[in-house]
């Protein structure tokens, strides 16, 4: 008896602690998981094949927890092969739907890791959304925005009529009570004989709005707070960019005015004045002026500094090489081996743009997100990429993009990129200027013969570490009695090097 009792006491403690543990355990796995950690894990492990909102190689994963049970998801992510082998119908159907494309196994993940990932796929927890999405703003507005986007945005915009009317500052137009009644159940409001409600219904041709009985009064207040809130569009980057985009204030008008005044004075001297000296002086001045301007104009012939044609796709070097630090030679990959630098073919663009289908960087007043998205779409149209199904369109005949050549030497002059980029180690920017700051490329240097020769006269040849120069260097340094050799001394101004 005693022993039994003792036993049961031990048992009780064990059971108690077990339930406690179970409870704890339940608590742990029942907790929502860490959004930020989940995001990290997702970005590193899953984002190659999954996006939240779009199908990529695997299905879209936003709110996947609504579709599948938690156990199933844990089993699938840990080892989807095993799950399929166990005869799970969903797993096998999915596998078939994706043409037998296997997903990777993640046995190394702990249950916590997977919970974190699932927390990420279920979207931002509210606290986080508040202080990142709409920073420095009443939390109500941020939540209202979410509610608005989830429930209303399909038919309403703030600033534009969509299917329903624009809703910005709707509280100025209607009373709060009316709005609450309308949003909760507009049918009931109309049935009660409300004049405004019925007029509105007629204005929109009897197109009914959905009732939202599920929204609490608090929710509706939040949405209304959002509609009254005016987003301050003065982003720091934005205003800076628009400053950059503006052309510099021109001082040309001053010289024009000055020129005209001079001209008038001269005309006056010839027509009205009888002073011989003034006439002679004016004649000399006129001749020199004409000569100066005339030669100036002639020297412009064939020189295209600042030439900046309108390209078929507004490809921004600032965004690619400036903001995102993509190396010039990633795209201009033949510069290292050949005469031409080459313009990348579209398959190179697709290395990134299979995944990057929209633009989310800073925008300026005249170029908004829609503009940039449209430019990316042009790439897809040319190569035949269907961004909704993330696949190339079958039997599509590609259309080449007709880029307009900016830099173009005359045919009688020979210029070779690899000689300058690989052998001499000259950076692209020395000749092409700060391309990584240009929205659109323009010609930076004059590309005249004088420009080439000037650089050859002043640039030393890098002889160290280049086996080809071992002998030449000794001979040349003996010939000129110097240690360092410029390109001109090596023959960089002999006509035949560039003209043949």
């Amino acid at each position: 008896m005693k022993s039994v009792k003792k036993h049961s006491l031990v048992n009780k403690i064990i059971y108690l602690s077990l339930t406690f543990l179970l409870f704890l355990n339940f608590n742990v796995s029942g907790q929502t998981g860490n959004y930020d950690k989940g995001k990290q894990l997702f970005n590193v492990n899953c984002a190659a094949c999954h996006k939240l909102d779009k199908k990529l190689i695997g299905p879209a994963l936003a709110n996947i927890t609504d579709k599948r049970s938690k156990e199933w998801l844990h089993a699938w992510i840990k080892d989807n092969n095993a799950l399929r082998a166990s005869g799970d119908a969903d797993a096998n159907a999915l596998f078939k739907e994706y043409n037998g494309m296997p997903m990777m196994q993640y046995p190394q993940f702990t249950a916590q890791d997977i919970d974190d990932i699932l927390a990420y796929t279920s979207g931002k927890p509210k606290e986080i959304a508040q202080n990142t999405a709409v920073a420095k703003v009443d939390p109500k507005v941020a939540e209202g925005k979410q509610l608005f986007q989830a429930n209303c945005a399909a038919c309403h915009k703030l600033d534009k009529k969509l299917i329903g009317p624009a809703l910005a500052n709707i509280t100025d137009k209607r009373s709060k009570e009316w709005l609450h009644a309308w949003i909760t159940d507009n049918n009931a409001l109309r049935a009660s004989g409300d004049a405004d409600a019925n007029a509105l219904f007629k204005e929109y041709n009897g197109m009914p709005m959905m009732p939202f009985p599920q929204l609490s009064a608090d929710d509706i207040d939040k949405i209304l707070a959002y509609t009254s809130y005016v987003e301050v569009k003065a982003d720091v980057t934005q205003s800076k960019d628009s400053n950059l985009a503006k052309p510099k204030a021109s001082t040309a008008w001053m010289s024009i005015v000055l020129g005209l005044v001079l001209l008038l004075v001269i005309v006056w001297i010839f027509v009205k004045s009888n002073n011989g000296f003034l006439k002679i002086a004016a004649t000399i001045f006129l001749l020199f002026g004409i000569a100066y301007l005339g030669f100036g104009a002639l020297f412009q012939v064939g020189i295209d500094t600042d030439y900046q044609p309108i390209q078929p796709i507004q490809f921004s070097h600032k965004i690619h090489s400036g903001d995102n630090k993509i190396d010039c030679q990633y795209c201009h990959s033949s510069a290292k081996h050949s005469k031409t630098s080459g313009i990348p073919s579209l398959n190179v663009c697709m290395n990134c743009h299979k995944s990057i289908s929209e633009y989310n960087g800073p925008v300026t007043s005249d170029k908004d997100k829609a503009f940039y998205d449209g430019e990316i779409q042009k790439v897809y149209d040319a190569i035949g990429w269907d961004k909704d199904n993330t696949a190339y369109k079958p039997n599509f005949e590609q259309v080449p993009v007709k880029w307009i050549l900016v830099h173009n030497l005359a045919d009688f002059a020979y210029f070779n990129h690899s000689q300058h980029v690989t052998v001499a180690g000259v950076t692209c920017q020395t000749c092409h200027g700060p391309v990584e700051t240009m929205e659109e490329v323009k010609q930076f240097s004059k590309l005249t013969m004088g420009w080439c020769i000037e650089c050859h006269k002043t640039t030393e040849v890098k002889m160290k570490g280049n086996g080809y120069y071992n002998n030449i260097h000794d001979q040349l340094s003996k010939k000129y009695g110097i240690e360092k050799v410029t390109e001109a001394q090596m023959g960089g101004q002999e006509c035949g090097k560039c003209h043949y």
Binding site: A48, H337, G342
Partner: protein, 186 residues
Amino acid sequence: MKHIFNIAILALLAISLSFCSRDNRTRNVRYMASTDMYTPVSYETYGTNPNYTNGLDAQAPVPGTIFRGEVPYEIANTEEGYQLALKTLKSPLEVNDANLANGKAMYTIYCTSCHGDKGDGQGVLMQREKFLGIPNYKDRAITEGSIYHVIMYGRNMMGSHASQLTDKERWEIVQYVQKLRTDLLK
């Protein structure tokens, strides 16, 4: 006498006006631009060419041919091909400093924006959340064969980088990736 001056004044005006109209969207006047001294008679790299049906000078190599200096790659772009490369493909290059140095230079141009300079998957595009899902090399069971295969054909969301690199450069990059991976695994 007066006539000459009148003409001169007009010329002056005309010339100064011609300066005002210079805009940078069109090319400047080019003397003799239509002669073969300036515009080549031969077809240019990216020009048009009426002899081909798609009108372009740049054509893909004829199937079954390779261009000079290139080494044909016979393993297929399939999952089986990947496994075959993983297990059997070996590098023809010896490991030395020169190869590693050029491998590093090429890696820096072509791979760092995604994979990061250490190969830990933290390239600029990943950090700016433009392109996601780039693995850390140490988390993948890769061999020199599979790395070469991935450069040739790409894998999942990574695209092929074959067109930007010569055969030797690809193997040099492979060597450098192997080095990064051993460093990461330490």
